[in-house]
């Protein structure tokens, strides 16, 4: 068949296919199912025509045009539509604890690094308070000492308004979730970035904890941190685990090619990253509106804090014990 005949013969079909493509690509997803019922059929036909045109060496313009149509059709046909609400509920109920269970080795190593360095640094600083200056500059030490000083506590807290709470909420989201994401991504450097972030944050938090405990500011410091700590500290540990997973995939590909191993590790780490986002969001909320509240007694904060820790630990300990298929 000569090209001209071929073109006149199928021109209408290509135009019809192009019309259904435009309908599918337009951002409004309001197209009716009937409009695209012929889509697969049309797509197969265009593929067939492209193959013919290539084989018969028709003119480049025609082949380009058919190639473009087939490519656009390919992208529409092979995309996946997901129900985002269902996915989120499923993820929180099952997917996240299942992912933590699946990557338990990395979660355990990351937790050990983070909580280990935190406790060691806290103990060291408790017995040798001057160590805090090797982590923080003098001004910062003065700032947080003043913040948690029981004598000045009342004064600062009574002036704190709801607007301040909101401002802090925004700050915690930007800063803390950003740190979580960075910890994950920097794990690409053979895990070194994740390890650095885990140790750095562990030591920084441990130093404050040991220093303030030694000063005897326990009644102001611990009620503040116990609540959101449950979500924030575990969140950071899991972010580290996701980073370690990524770095390990690059470092030890096993029987896969290094590139393929990296892709798979990144894919496996994603549920952990979603989970980190979710946990640090809760942490930011609790920290801004609950932990800082001056109306709540320390007993209430300790009780709630204990409940939060119990909730988080049982969520990971009991959730998704039977791995979902």
């Amino acid at each position: 068949m000569k090209q001209e005949l071929f073109e006149t013969h199928y021109q209408d079909k290509w135009q019809a296919f192009e019309a259904s493509l435009s309908a599918l690509e337009s951002r409004k997803r309001s197209h009716k199912a009937a409009d695209v019922s012929a889509f697969a059929e049309q797509y197969r036909q265009v593929c067939h025509h492209l193959a013919l045109a290539q084989e018969r060496q028709y003119s480049p313009y025609l082949i380009d045009r058919l190639n473009q149509l087939a490519l656009r059709g390919h992208q529409q046909l092979y995309q996946s539509h997901t129900n985002i609400v269902y996915n989120m509920v499923y993820f929180i109920l099952l997917g996240f604890p299942a992912a933590v269970r699946r990557e338990f080795t990395f979660v355990a190593i990351a937790s050990l690094l983070f909580f280990g360095s935190l406790l060691v640094m806290a103990t060291l600083t408790y017995f040798e308070p001057s160590l805090v200056y090797s982590v923080y500059p003098e001004g910062a030490v003065r700032d947080f000492t003043e913040m948690y000083d029981p004598a000045s506590k009342h004064r600062t807290e009574s002036t704190r308004t709801t607007a301040d709470d909101f401002a802090m909420f925004g700050f915690y989201i930007k800063n803390n979730i950003g740190i979580g994401f960075q910890t994950f991504a920097s794990g690409f450097l053979l895990g070194a970035g994740a390890i650095f972030n885990l140790l750095f944050n562990g030591i920084a938090i441990g130093a404050v904890m040991g220093y303030l405990t030694e000063l005897g500011y326990t009644d102001t410091f611990f009620p503040f941190v116990v609540g959101h700590g449950a979500f924030e500290l575990t969140g950071i540990a899991i972010a580290g685990a996701a980073g370690l997973k990524l770095g390990y995939g690059l470092l030890c590909p096993g029987r896969l090619s290094r590139k393929q191993s990296l892709i798979q590790a990144a894919r496996a780490a994603m549920p952990l990253v979603y989970g980190v986002f979710f946990m640090l969001l809760i942490a930011a909320f609790v920290e801004a509106f609950w932990s800082s509240s001056s109306y709540l007694s320390n007993t209430a904060k300790y009780t709630a804090g204990a409940c939060f820790w119990l909730l988080v630990l049982s969520y990971f300990g009991l959730g998704a014990r039977h791995e979902p298929k």
């Binding site: 001209e4 060496q57 003119s59 087939a70 607007a163 950003g178 990144a266």
Partner: protein, 226 residues
Amino acid sequence: MLDTYRKLETPENIDLDIHIAGPLVRILAFTIDTLIRTGVQIALLIVLALLGKVGLALWLIITFVLEWFYPVLFEVLNQGQTPGKKAMNIAVVNDDSTPVSWSASIVRNFLRIVDFLPMGYITGLISMILNQDFKRIGDLAAGTVVVYRDQYKPAPKWPDSRSAPPPVALNLKQQRAMLSFVERQSTLTRERQQELANHLQPVFQHQNQEAVDYIVRIATWLRGGR
């Protein structure tokens, strides 16, 4: 091969041509996106500053979203194109040329901080240059690739001409060259057309404008015209 076209075999058993986007066009797209993002941040800071502390909170949250999710949201919800990519006519797709998924988009955009190291996306640029598909680290980890979105081109106007059978048997490749010459005619100067056509003088025995006209006649014949 020094070629930015890749063949993609589909389940329908045909080869599609994919046109990979290089570093320069991607840098331009990134620059446009950065300008837009910074502009929005500054504009919002001015507006939200009027709302006091609550405004500050909103600004921090929006900045956070812009910083981490600006490319993700656009790529997933807008057919793989951020505004900058749209302006440059390129798009992100999975390696198999299907639309990019949430996870893949998040991986490739979060790993920007690795691509950025030690400064100014040097790692990403080196990775792009070393990789045959111009992938930066984020693309490698996510299994994505940046491709050109070909614009619809109007059909080239076929000249009105009589047809003539070729004086010698032409194989498929040669036939295609004839057709291609006529389709490209409007983009070439008259002198260049003649120069190209003159290469065939030993076969077709024509010169200059006559040679051009003769090729058009043969191509018309090949295409099926009378």
